[in-house]
């Protein structure tokens, strides 16, 4: 296997009444597009939340590009981009303002930020609507904008949690094309999805999670 971007060892997350993640071990190579499939509540989002530092695991460890997600959280945050499950955008800001805000939060310099903003908005088909308030966007446009916000820092590793859910086919294919381009740029992507067809189309490997366990790889 190539150099690993993500190394997960015996990762677990237990709540008093439920085990959300149970003894998950996994390696994802640099430049790989890895799909996590499973029904609702299987543990996909829990895995992503632990990897991006939103949740503390109760067992095991995880590393991203050699950094421990718990001990080296600030270094990890510099390397990752996360598209959360919710369509998380600020509706009172324009599309471009949303992108600029997150560029600033990642401390991207202004010149570079302008370039990336134009590039990402253009690739996601939102350039013409960049000056419109995001709250006025259609559902598909909001999801695409949400994806842009996750990638504005040009991350080494991107976690995309159901990025195409509830998208119209046109938007979904635009996202697929975009993800294929990212893959060509040697970015590592973890994609959770409910769609088998999406996983087959995009992913190099697929892991199936159910009841917090990786049941197939």
């Amino acid at each position: 296997m190539n150099e690993s971007a993500i190394v997960i060892q015996n990762l677990g997350k237990k709540y008093p009444d439920v085990t959300a993640l149970d003894d998950l071990s996994l390696r994802v190579a640099k430049g790989e597009l890895f799909g996590l499939l499973g029904p609702n509540g299987a543990g996909k989002t829990t895995t992503i939340n632990i990897l991006c530092g939103l949740l503390k695991p109760t067992d095991g460890t995880a590393q991203i590009c050699g950094y421990d997600v718990q001990k080296d959280a600030s270094e990890v945050k510099e390397l990752i981009g996360v598209c959360v499950q919710e369509t998380a955008i600020y509706p009172y800001l324009t599309g471009a303002e949303n992108v600029d805000l997150f560029g600033d939060l990642y401390a991207v310099n202004k010149v570079e930020l302008a370039k990336r903003r134009e590039n990402l908005l253009s690739k996601m088909g939102l350039l013409e609507d960049a000056k419109r308030r995001a709250g006025k966007y259609s559902g598909g446009m909001k999801k695409r904008l949400s994806l842009i916000l996750a990638l504005i820092n040009d991350p080494e590793v991107a976690f995309l949690d159901d990025p195409t859910v509830a998208m119209d086919p046109q938007s979904r294919h635009a996202v697929w094309d975009f993800l294929k381009e990212l893959k060509k740029e040697n970015k590592t992507i973890i994609l959770t999805t409910h769609y088998m067809e999406e996983a087959e189309e995009l992913c190099d490997r697929v892991g199936i999670i159910d009841h917090g366990k990786l049941i197939a790889l």
Binding site: L54, S74, E78, E86, A88, E97, D100, F102, D104, L105
Partner: protein, 367 residues
């Protein structure tokens, strides 16, 4: 800590305030409408000088009627007091309870005798016949309770030919205060509380904003960036202090337009703004507590009233007309100290270095 992140989040908060109609209303429009409504109601625009209806029961038995008549003539001459004569206390009290007058003044039987004793030897208190003028006030009238006693006290001093600096005279006025209100309108009394009032609603806005961002995943999204909690908090503090400053400026412009003209220097105004800014920090804190407890934005709105209402009723101009128990309770809310400090600065003429004002600032800072 990166200024780029703090500035970006601050700009975002300010854009939200300007672009979201409900937020814009609560933060800016509501205080303006409120100040205008109250200012106009309490004798601001076009109302001229307020007039207080005072009932008089003259029991003065001195054969020299001049003393009580001099007092009544002098009171009528102020054009602020409209006198109504009653033959007995009972009739006057009935009129007071029915709201047709705002105060009852009982001139005692020995008033003329007392007056004469004072005139005969103004510098010899041992020879004076001391007397007490009883004053009953309509507690439902905030302006009457605050304005009538000092007007009568001032008039007594004037007709006795006594200077403000003179040590004493034989006329005691029950419930009289030492505040000289001749140049103050009712608006002047409520204006300090209005500055406080406007800022209190930041609690609701902060609580809603945080709970809403958490609900729609924005907090999660920000947490996965390199933004530190310190940077995030700094942005909130900067943006809400900015909003509070604009809010205070708007309230000041409105009250000024309505006739609020405290005769104090620029330092007092500056200090007042500092006080409001410190108070806004306290409100951001209460807003954060609200957001932490609430599970949704709508729950945060409801919960915020746990902090908003006590501050509103016990610590602003409303508190002055509440029971003594409520006024003691007011000392446990930060807004009380802001209103008290602003009142000391604007109405009592206290300097920014006075102990009362500094203690008030300390209390607000601690909160």
């Amino acid at each position: 800590m990166k200024a780029q992140r703090i500035l970006a989040l601050t700009k975002k908060e300010i854009k939200k305030t300007v672009r979201e109609p409900p937020v814009l209303f609560m933060i800016f429009i509501f205080p303006i409408v409120f100040v205008f409504a109250f200012g106009a109601s309490f004798g601001g625009v076009g109302a001229g000088t307020p007039v207080y209806n005072v009932g008089v029961v003259n029991m003065d038995q001195g054969n020299l009627e001049n003393a009580s008549q001099t007092l009544l003539t002098a009171l009528s001459g102020t054009k602020i007091i409209n006198l109504h004569l009653y033959s007995d206390n009972q009739s006057a009290q009935n009129a007071l309870s029915q709201g047709s007058i705002q105060a009852v003044m009982i001139i005692p039987v020995d008033f003329s005798q007392s007056f004469t004793s004072y005139q005969a030897a103004p510098s010899n208190p041992s020879s004076w016949t001391n007397t007490t003028i009883s004053l009953y006030l309509d507690k439902g009238s905030l302006t009457a309770t605050q304005a009538v006693p000092p007007i009568i006290q001032q008039t007594l001093t004037t007709i006795a030919g006594q200077t403000q600096q003179a040590p004493s005279n034989p006329f005691q006025l029950q419930t009289a205060s030492l505040v000289n209100v001749e140049s103050h309108s009712a608006l002047d009394f409520i204006a300090p509380g209005m500055f406080t009032f406007a800022s209190i609603f930041l609690i609701m806005m902060v609580g809603q904003s945080f709970a809403n961002d958490r609900e729609n995943g924005m907090m999660k999204r920000i947490r996965v960036t390199s933004t530190t909690p310190t940077e995030f908090m700094a942005s909130q503090v900067v943006s809400y202090m900015g909003i509070a400053l604009i809010q205070a400026a708007l309230v000041f412009v409105m009250t000024y337009a309505l006739g609020f003209r405290p005769a104090v220097g620029a330092t007092s105004y500056l200090f007042a703004f500092v006080l409001v800014l410190v108070f806004s920090l306290s409100n951001v804190g209460f807003g954060l507590i609200t957001a932490t407890i609430a599970k949704s934005a709508s729950a945060a709105t409801g919960l915020s009233f746990l902090f908003v209402l006590p501050q509103l009723f016990l610590g602003t101009f409303v508190g002055a007309s509440l029971s003594s128990g409520a006024q003691v309770a007011g000392k446990f809310v930060p807004s009380y100290y802001v209103t008290d400090a602003l009142t000391s600065l604007f109405l009592r003429g206290a300097s920014v270095a006075s102990l009362t004002v500094l203690l008030d600032l300390a209390a607000v800072s601690i909160s």
